[in-house]
């Protein structure tokens, strides 16, 4: 009994600790700058002051940034999952020669910091005429995310029951048909989780979009948030307003898909 309560209490404390930053951001997002300067960031605001949010929205054309982020993250999520499935099918089920080494290469690719990739990618995209386009981000992140996806999926598919595939083969299904009719439907929970992770990870990417999306009309949400951080000055209330706007879509997305997510995570555990 005591143990049960202590777990509950520690979870509650943990949840509170996680939520405090969100609470502070929300508090300051609806505070006027004067109030912030006079009373500091932790007091309750004197009134609802939504100018910061509205002004930020208009200043950076937030609707446009949302669309760019949605476009890039959505495309990357779908394309990276497809690419990962194709790769993983070859590596995990197809068992191509030298697959261990290929997997090692993918693993190493995962550990590469983005800073190391910047210059090569910059020159490639400039040569291909893709510098400062959203397409460049979609291609780059599709590859980056599918490196992880391939690594993960290949080990999942490596343990795919061969009896099922053999049965399908006896029934006359080719490799292509087996992939789309058997492998993909059965591993759908894992794929949905990957899709959601890819979406959220790409949504939150800052560094590469900062470098590659030069024009304001191509920029994503996290890059737009950077506009508020100056050389020596920061605008705390407007930064909070922008942070709130920036984090909301990811939270909404998470809430919509969280059942898929928990199902995908627990699917292995039930087995």
């Amino acid at each position: 009994m005591i143990r049960k309560y202590s777990v509950l209490i520690s979870l509650a404390v943990l949840a509170a600790v996680m939520l405090v930053p969100f609470a502070i951001v929300t508090l300051n997002a609806v505070r006027s700058p004067q109030d912030y300067s006079a009373n500091g960031p932790l007091s309750l605001p004197d009134g609802l002051h939504l100018d910061g949010i509205v002004e930020f929205w208009n200043r950076v054309d937030f609707g446009g940034k949302l669309w760019n982020s949605l476009l890039i993250s959505g495309s990357v999520a779908v394309l990276a999952v497809i690419l990962s499935v194709l790769n993983a099918y070859a590596l995990g089920v197809g068992r191509v020669r030298g697959r261990v080494w290929i997997m090692v290469v993918f693993l190493v690719a995962n550990t590469l910091p983005q800073e190391a990739l910047v210059y090569p990618l910059y020159y490639l995209s400039k040569e291909a005429g893709l510098y400062d386009t959203r397409l460049s981000m979609i291609i780059i992140f599709t590859v980056i995310q599918s490196a992880f996806g391939t690594y993960l999926l290949a080990s999942v598919l490596g343990r795919f029951p061969h009896e099922i595939l053999e049965a399908a083969a006896i029934d006359g299904a080719g490799k292509w048909r087996a992939l789309w009719r058997i492998v993909v439907p059965i591993s759908r929970p894992t794929l949905s989780v990957l899709l959601i992770f890819f979406f959220i990870w790409t949504w939150n990417e800052f560094f590469l979009p900062l470098i590659f999306l030069i024009s304001n009309e191509n920029q994503t949400v996290p890059v737009a948030l950077g506009v508020l951080q100056g050389d020596k000055m920061m605008d705390a209330t407007m930064s909070s307003a922008s942070a709130l706007l920036g984090v909301l879509p990811a939270v909404v997305f998470f809430l919509i898909f969280q059942r898929t997510l928990t199902r995908g995570v627990t699917v292995g555990a039930i087995k």
């Binding site: 700058p33 004067q34 912030y36 300067s37 006079a38 009373n39 500091g40 960031p41 200043r59 949605l70 476009l71 890039i72 959505g74 495309s75 999520a77 779908v78 394309l79 910059y122 400039k126 510098y131 400062d132 386009t133 959203r134 397409l135 979609i138 759908r188 949905s192 899709l195 560094f207 900062l210 470098i211 030069i214 024009s215 304001n216 009309e217 191509n218 890059v223 737009a224 950077g226 506009v227 951080q229 100056g230 050389d231 020596k232 000055m233 920061m234 605008d235 705390a236 919509i256 898909f257 059942r259 898929t260």
Partner: protein, 438 residues
């Protein structure tokens, strides 16, 4: 359950299709316009907020430019400081480069790009349009870079449009309450702080975790220094003895001020933002920081009267030109860029910059109407007229900012003696000198 799943797949597919469609027809318009088709375009970037002094003045400059250049479209984009800082080199090396942009002055920024050949040499335009006559010598320092990309001499690669300097802001209400007069000498300054300490008030808000503390340290060193010392330290014209009278005095005085209670012992962990907020909240009578806080103080302090004065007893102060206009080598319309810079240097625009709380470089002080702005600009004129801008202590070596933050934190915490701190900050400076071959 399966409804949710179908919905998800449908949503994602819709997004993907839209993505492909948008990528397909988005390309041509994203490409840059060429001179041959349509009206000419001036592509202008800066990263000042629209309601700040520079933002307001430059918006007016854009209007005037459009009026005097019919048929030219100004395509202005407000950029993120971080984006320009991270990727200016890459942008300027591509054909996405703007025609004119605001960029950070200094060896590691404008100096580096000039060395890489990414910036246009503005020397002929400067002479032709007389910009050099509008700028005092210490403002010109940050506009000129030599072949090694070191500022101070050589060709013009930038034009500063505003300036900044470090001053003492004070809370008039607290000064009155404790019957303290505005100090005019260094002794009066310390006497004023003694009065506050006796009354149980910590006099100075200090942000030890960021730039403010090192600027106080530098102000103290400057009180014992002459121009040649600054030239030696900043422009490598000669050797600097870190155990010489200037830095020794600064380190010992700083440590002493913490002991006397002028500076709170816990300030080592305070950020600049928190320092400013605590001053605006009326908790401290004094804060020593730069003119970049001026606009915010002016718009956000409502509960008390405040003012500013130069660091008492100093003829020099930390300060410099603000960021500079640069014209990328790859710019397509350099002539338009020069015309635009010329407009921002005009008296009208400069006066507007001054009236909005900025420090103009070529304004007419008599034309400034706002009394507080007048005080700000008159103090600057006093400083720059006496060739008193001494730049910032973290400029001379790459990564020196963090060295100084750590050093001054040790002084405030008392974890190292002043002499040890001087050794600590001397080493990276000497290493950089060796790298430069001096």
């Amino acid at each position: 359950m399966s409804k949710v799943r179908t919905g998800a797949v449908a949503l994602v597919t819709a997004v993907a299709l839209a993505a492909l469609a948008a990528c397909g027809n988005g390309e041509p318009e994203a490409g840059k316009p060429t001179a041959s088709d349509g009206p000419r375009v001036l592509k202008l970037w800066h990263y000042e907020s629209a309601d700040g002094a520079m933002g307001k003045a430059w918006a007016e400059a854009i209007k005037q430019f459009e009026a005097s250049h019919p048929g030219v479209e100004v395509r202005f984009e407000e950029k993120a400081f971080e984006q320009i800082r991270q990727s200016a080199g890459m942008i300027l090396n591509s054909d996405e480069a703007p025609d004119v942009m605001e960029y950070n002055k200094g060896n590691a920024t404008a100096g580096l790009l000039s060395k890489q050949g990414l910036l246009t040499d503005l020397t002929p335009e400067v002479a032709k349009r007389g910009w050099d006559k509008l700028l005092s010598p210490s403002l010109q320092t940050t506009a000129k870079y030599d072949d090694r990309g070191i500022m101070g001499a050589g060709k013009w690669f930038g034009v500063p449009n505003y300036a900044e300097y470090v001053m003492v802001y004070y809370n008039k209400d607290l000064f009155e309450k404790h019957k303290v007069e505005v100090p005019t000498t260094f002794d009066e300054f310390t006497a004023a702080m003694d009065t506050f300490v006796e009354a149980g008030v910590t006099p100075m808000a200090v942000g030890g975790a960021e730039y403010p503390a090192q600027q106080i340290f530098y102000q103290l060193a400057l009180s014992k220094a002459q121009r040649p010392w600054v030239d030696n330290f900043q422009l490598y014209k000669g050797k600097v003895d870190f155990h010489g009278p200037e830095f020794t005095y600064a380190a010992e005085t700083m440590a002493d001020w913490v002991k006397k209670g002028y500076i709170a012992k816990d300030s080592a962990a305070i950020k600049a933002e928190d320092m400013g907020v605590s001053f605006m909240g009326g908790k401290y009578p004094i804060v020593v920081t730069g003119s970049w806080w001026y606009g915010r103080f002016a718009s956000e302090i409502k509960d008390f009267e405040w003012g500013s004065f130069l660091w008492p007893g100093n003829t020099m102060s930390a300060g410099s030109s603000g960021n500079i206009w640069v014209v990328p080598e790859n710019a397509e319309n350099k002539d338009l860029a020069y015309d635009f810079i010329d407009i921002t240097m005009k008296k009208e625009i400069q006066n507007l910059l001054g009236d909005s709380g900025g420090v103009p470089v070529a304004a007419d002080p008599a034309a400034i109407t706002d009394p507080k702005s007048k005080e700000l600009i008159e103090n600057f004129t006093k400083l720059s007229g006496g060739d008193g801008l001494a730049f910032y202590p973290d400029w001379p070596a790459p990564g020196y900012y963090d060295v100084l933050v750590a050093g001054v934190q040790n002084l405030i915490n008392g974890s190292k003696t002043p002499s040890q701190v001087l050794d600590e900050i001397a080493a990276p400076y000497e290493e950089n000198l060796a790298d430069l071959g001096n």
